[in-house]
């Protein structure tokens, strides 16, 4: 007769039958009945109705039956608290039983009955059991304190159980010590500030002694507890390490890992030049390697941990590459983890071995694994620079196999290699292009398109290749569509003449025929960019991309630091901080651990950072692919600085904002945009850039400039200090600072060119955009010698005012293009308008009066100049220095009125009345001019001149 029949009872009235059996006189029958009850309980049937009957069976001297009854009680006491009281007497009695097994059983079960009323009765028996003569009872009682604490923490404290528990740390039986440590550790977790587990050298010594005698499981509790201790100095830390090291050869992997955790942590304290440090490092490798011959489940957990250790201390396992080679019968998840570690360990010394192995994997049959292997080759290339060439040739070999998924994966990784080593391996592009037709996966197609776009100038038939992709544009996945759009725009910017049609086609496909908002947005952005300012477009789209590095897949250092403290725990398997998956209440404890780690690490300057990071949400490490995708997006390219003139850039910004907000509202506006684009395309081709660089603004903007232009002849004015116009980081190392000055009637632009790049700069040239007053260089930029790295040169460029005129906003804005052998850079600056005040700006008195009257009052503007402490004569003198001439002076009621005139280089007269009242630091200026737009600038000149 077997017990399995209990699981098959589904008859009606079953409960009733069981009841009868439970109340039977025969012991055997009773036992059978309780077994049936428990079988029902296991499969989830509700047998709580039998509670009183089962409890009745409790009073028995048969240990087997007693255990079964207790099992039942633990399960149902909570739902029947009142009934559970019935059992209390038996429990209390059992706690006094001469048989230690029964005493322990009673105290263990009582702790599992999570009913408040019972806990009151539990205290006395528990106190006795904690002092029991039998260690089996004591160790059970120690755990029971933790159980009781979970139900009623206050009670445990009031009853003084915690002190008894602390005493148990010094118990003679190691099993009791281990359980006491475990219980105290758990209780301490919920009291982060209490000094429950007072780890001092004495207790540590006791624990280390118990460590040698404990069972394997007890050793784990003790080691985990040791890991929370912070040694006072490196000597103590070394002596603990020495006593823990023997655990590394234990057969139980959990013991080994707990020991590794302690050692990894205490190692931080040891000086690196210590001999012992090196010895310890050597001792860590073998146990980690041994873990790899365990069951696959353990292997996986071990590999996840090794992954962390390798990132933190690659030296431990650097000679053990071979053990991470994949065995053909490893489960796939173990294989993938091994691959990851192989790459992390790859170095110049072992790369040949690794590559040979990876190439082998790439010919296996498991597709997923093969793909990962090919990716791994790419990651090796990026990690070990010396091996890049070998990796590329390995990849080419793999491409020659013509196995579809291998080829595709290889192309994806070659793209990454191009990103890391630009202009080095482009010779392979031809081979890649041969395989164009076989690509059917989006990622591979996108990668290929990226390569074609990026190197369009070196691929003769790039336009044909891209066009072939364009045919099925709408059937492609988004990834490919986006890439195709970008690639064609790149191609257009590189070969504008042949590809206009293509770019227009793709833009209209992306913006008009697609319902994917991402694609439409990107399409519109390109479209606007190209139509308003192809130069800026070039700068944005063809901007230099940052090199990718292998760090992209590393765990962020603060997180790694934290995870190292959690080696051998779930955190180390998930590679997430515990706070990410353990319920909130545990956060406190976890912070304490990291804090102590921080302070344990004497050289680390910011101990707070680890703790701070622990509260941050889990850091998401972008995979290489993601990062690459992002970089290819426009968003991350540095914004084009000063290229387009402000009105245009304002509009452009607006357009972008609108695109970000409501796209549909823009669809109408777009039609206008497209005609503007046509106009833009016709004239300026980016290749001929400097010559036509002011062209982009011409389209439809004519009505914006007026200001009728007279021409004047300038004289001499003081200058402001130089300011930075073009920072080096925006101009590939060329920094320009400058100012304007008027010397002897000639306007000069005084600049300092500073070469902060590593290479020599030559072939400087300068050009201005049209501006409000027709400023233009009067001659070429006089830089005859090449500008070496870290050299600077001062130049003064005389300016004329006969250049083309266009009204700027603000009026005195000047847009400048500077070219050198490297590139063309754009910046804008503002010149003080008094540069333009000519020396013969003194008006005849009568003319002044007539003119003053003649100019309509609407054109008059009044400004206040505050905090000026000059008297009227001093002011007059000062202003004269800026070619502002005083014609007459009147004093009315203690207030001086100065009448002044000035003339701009284009013949515009400005008349002014300056009122100065003695004792009042506030001046009032009234300006009258036929072109009132200049008033604001003139006022600024007044303010600058008077306060100077």
């Amino acid at each position: 007769m077997t017990d399995s029949k209990y699981f098959t009872t589904t008859k009606k009235g079953e409960i009733f039958e069981l009841k009868a059996e439970l109340n039977s006189d025969k012991k055997e029958k009773k036992k059978e009945a309780v077994k049936k009850v428990i079988a029902s309980m296991t499969v989830g049937k509700d047998v709580s109705a039998l509670f009183p009957d089962v409890v009745n069976c409790m009073q028995t001297d048969n240990l087997e039956l007693k255990k079964l009854v207790y099992l039942y009680l633990m399960n149902y006491a909570k739902s029947q608290p009142d009934m559970a009281i019935m059992a209390v007497n038996t429990f209390v009695k059992d706690c006094e039983d001469p048989n230690p097994l029964i005493r322990a059983l009673a105290v263990r079960t009582m702790g599992c009955i999570r009913v408040d009323k019972i806990t009151e009765y539990l205290c006395e028996p528990l106190r006795k059991c904690l002092k029991d003569e039998d260690p089996y009872v004591r160790k059970t009682a120690a755990v029971c304190v933790a159980k009781l604490h979970d139900i009623n923490a206050q009670l445990v404290e009031d009853q003084g159980f915690l002190d008894t528990l602390k005493d148990l740390i010094s118990d003679s039986n190691p099993m009791v010590v281990a359980n006491a440590v475990a219980a105290l550790s758990e209780i301490a977790e919920s009291h982060p500030n209490s000094n429950l587990l007072d780890l001092n050298p004495q207790t540590i010594n006791k624990l280390l002694t118990a460590l040698n005698e404990c069972t394997e499981w007890g050793q784990i509790f003790i080691l985990d507890c040791l890991a929370n201790y912070t040694p006072r100095d490196d000597r103590e830390s070394q002596s603990i390490c020495e006593r823990v090291t023997p655990r590394l050869s234990h057969a139980n992997s959990a013991v080994v890992l707990s020991a590794v955790k302690v050692l990894m942590k205490f190692m931080e304290m040891l000086p690196k030049d210590l001999d012992y440090y090196g010895t310890l490092l050597k001792k860590l490798a073998p146990p980690l390697v041994t873990l790899l011959s365990a069951e696959p489940e353990l292997q996986y957990v071990a590999l996840r941990n090794i992954n962390l250790i390798v990132q933190r201390r690659p030296e431990i396992l650097k000679h053990e590459m071979k053990v991470f080679f994949v065995k053909y019968n490893d489960p796939i998840y173990v294989k993938l983890e091994k691959l990851d570690i192989m790459i992390r360990l790859a170095s110049q010394a072992n790369i040949a071995q690794v590559l040979a192995e990876l190439k082998e994997y790439a010919t296996e049959v498991d597709v997923d694994f093969v793909r990962k292997a090919v990716r791994a080759i790419g990651r090796c290339a990026i990690k070990v620079e010396q091996s890049a060439e070998r990796c590329v040739s390995t990849l080419l070999d793999l491409i020659q196999t013509k196995v579809n998924y291998v080829v595709q994966e290889a192309i994806v990784v070659i793209k990454d290699i191009f990103r890391k080593y630009p202009n080095k391996y482009e010779s392979v592009i031809a081979t890649l292009c041969e395989n164009l037709d076989s690509l059917d996966e989006p990622e591979a197609r996108a990668a290929m398109i990226w390569i074609v776009g990026e190197y369009a100038e070196r691929i003769d038939n790039a336009d044909e290749l891209l066009e072939s992709f364009l045919e099925g544009f709408h059937d492609e996945s988004t990834q490919v569509q986006l890439q195709l759009l970008t690639a064609i725009v790149k191609l257009f910017l590189k070969k504008p003449t042949e590809t206009q049609e293509l770019v227009q086609q793709v833009l209209s496909l992306a913006t008009q025929d697609s319902d994917n908002p991402d694609l439409r947005d990107r399409g519109y952005i390109y479209w606007r960019l190209l139509s308003t300012d192809p130069v800026a477009a070039k700068e944005v789209v063809l901007a230099e991309k940052p090199l990718i590095s292998e760090e992209t897949d590393l765990i962020e250092p603060t997180l790694l630091e934290e995870l190292i403290c959690h080696i051998g725990t779930l955190a180390s398997v998930y590679h997430k901080p515990p706070s990410a998956f353990v319920e909130g209440s545990r956060g406190v404890q976890h912070k304490r651990i990291t804090g102590s780690v921080g302070s344990g690490e004497s050289e680390s300057p910011d101990t707070g950072s680890a703790a701070g990071a622990s509260e941050a949400p889990p850091a998401v490490i972008p995979s290489q692919g993601d990062l690459l995708g992002d970089l290819l997006n426009l968003d991350l390219t540095p914004p084009a600085t000063t290229g387009p003139p402000p009105p245009t850039s304002g509009m452009q910004m607006g357009a972008m904002d609108l695109l970000g907000g409501g796209l549909d509202s823009l669809l109408g506006g777009d039609l206008g945009g497209s005609s503007a684009m046509g106009a833009g395309f016709g004239a300026p081709t980016p290749a001929a850039m400097p010559a036509s660089f002011n062209a982009p603004v011409s389209g439809g903007l004519d009505d914006l400039f007026d200001l009728g232009g007279g021409v004047g002849i300038p004289t001499g004015v003081n200058s402001a200090p130089k300011t930075v116009w073009l920072p080096a980081m925006k101009a590939k190392g060329l920094e320009i600072t400058g100012t304007f000055a008027r010397r002897a009637g000639i306007i000069q632009m005084e600049m300092t060119l500073n070469n902060k790049a590593m290479s020599i700069m030559t072939d400087f040239a300068i050009q201005f955009n049209r501006n409000s007053f027709g400023l233009a260089p009067a001659g070429p930029l006089q830089i005859l010698t090449p500008l070496g790295p870290n050299q600077s040169i001062e130049v003064a460029l005389p300016l004329s005012t006969v250049g083309p005129v266009m009204k700027m906003e603000p009026l005195n804005n000047l847009q400048v293009a500077v070219k050198n052998n490297i590139d063309v850079f754009y910046f804008s600056c503002q010149y003080p308008i008094n540069m333009l005040f000519v020396e013969d700006g003194k008006m005849e008195r009568q003319v002044f009066l007539a003119t003053w009257k003649d100019i309509p009052n609407d054109n008059e503007s009044q400004f206040q100049i505050k905090d000026c402490h000059l008297n009227s004569d001093a002011a007059s003198n000062k202003l004269q220095g800026s070619n502002i001439f005083t014609i007459a002076k009147r004093t009315v009621e203690g207030q001086d009125m100065l009448y002044q005139s000035m003339k701009l280089s284009n013949g515009i007269w400005v008349l002014a009345e300056l009122r100065v009242q003695a004792g009042n630091p506030n001046y009032t200026v009234s300006l009258k001019c036929r072109a009132p737009e200049v008033s604001q600038c003139v006022f600024q000149t007044y303010e600058a001149a008077l306060k100077n």
Partner: protein
């Protein structure tokens, strides 16, 4: 700290369920089974998380052995514990199967109660446990179909009549008491050999994993000595005797084995505790000292219809008295292939 332990059949039925710390959700078992069955091939199954609960499981004997925890506890501890638990259940019930677990649920609950207290592992040593366990194991009938599938790990059924019958070791360790204390001890040497053979029949990789297991049915056993071949050598450095006849790359021993005489005389001394234990494990990879016991002669032909025809001839070079068990040849083919 382990929260709950449950054992599920391969179909997801609860065989054993125990909550150690209270406060377990109502359908944790269900959500585990849902998760584990939804896994795809390349997702690691070992550790899974569901809300605040973490599941760690191993699969043995066709059953899921699952532990849950809400803490950031050590997966090594849990996996190691689960492996020990399966070994214990195997020792106590004779072997592992859904039926046996079902039949012995009371015994397994009793075991669980002793090995875990409030989620803390107490002991997994059968030596200690024999003092506490009261329930007698119930074993299935000695010769069932089930036993045939498990043929021969202990006392493989071969022609040699000296060797004990196959079922000899597939019985609970405790039942020895009622059978009148028949003291028996079984020593088995199990070697698992994996060989990768290229399409041209050449051995590409070969490795051997071996272990010496002892299964002891004596409640208290005095010292036992196992002598190995004196030419036995470890690693390449320390060759003994004339050739490299008996050589392993690495080996490890059970913690209870005393190795005082191992270096000089290759003798292992131990006092086995009741139940099964692996006394020694060893590995050997790549250059095997002798040819593998099997040879494979593959021929691959491409026929006119685009099909590939593979013929494989396996030749066993073992002496006629010896037999190999569980021989399997795997031919990896791409996923799309059809027969």
């Amino acid at each position: 700290m382990i929260g709950q332990i449950f054992i599920l059949s391969s179909k997801g039925d609860r065989l054993i369920y125990k909550d150690f710390r209270g406060g377990a959700g109502s359908d944790d078992v269900g959500s585990f089974y849902e998760k584990v069955t939804a896994l795809t091939g390349d997702q690691p199954p070992v550790v899974m998380t569901h809300k605040d609960l973490n599941f760690i499981h191993v699969r043995q004997g066709g059953l899921y052995w699952v532990a849950t925890t809400t803490h950031d506890s050590s997966p090594f501890t849990v996996v190691e514990f689960l492996n020990r638990l399966t070994a214990l259940v195997k020792d106590y019930c004779g072997s592992l199967s859904e039926k046996l677990v079902q039949m012995n649920f009371a015994l397994i609950y009793e075991l669980l109660d002793e090995v875990l207290d409030y989620g803390y592992v107490q002991t997994t040593s059968s030596d200690v446990l024999k003092n506490f366990i009261q329930t007698e194991a119930v074993s299935s009938r000695p010769f069932s179909l089930f036993d045939l599938s498990n043929v021969g790990l202990f006392g493989a059924d071969t022609q040699q009549s000296k060797v004990a019958p196959s079922s000899a070791a597939a019985r609970p360790i405790q039942s020895s008491r009622e059978q009148g204390g028949k003291s028996e001890i079984f020593v088995d040497v199990i070697e698992r050999m994996s060989v990768v053979i290229g399409s041209n029949g050449v051995v590409m990789k070969a490795d051997v994993e071996g272990e010496i297991k002892v299964k002891c049915y004596m409640s208290s056993c005095s010292e036992m000595r196992i002598g190995l071949n004196e030419e036995f050598s470890i690693g390449k450095s320390q060759l003994r005797g004339y050739g490299a006849a008996v050589r392993v790359d690495e080996c490890s021993f059970h913690e209870a084995v005393r190795l005082d005489e191992f270096d000089s005389q290759r003798v292992l001394r131990l006092c086995p505790s009741p139940g099964e234990q692996t006394v020694m494990q060893y590995q050997l990879s790549n250059d095997l000292p002798s040819a593998p016991p099997f040879r494979l002669f593959p021929t691959v032909e491409r026929d006119s219809g685009g099909r590939l025809l593979m013929y494989m001839k396996l030749r066993c070079d073992l002496p006629p008295k010896t037999a190999a068990i569980n021989v399997c040849a795997t031919v990896p083919v791409p996923k799309g292939s059809v027969r």
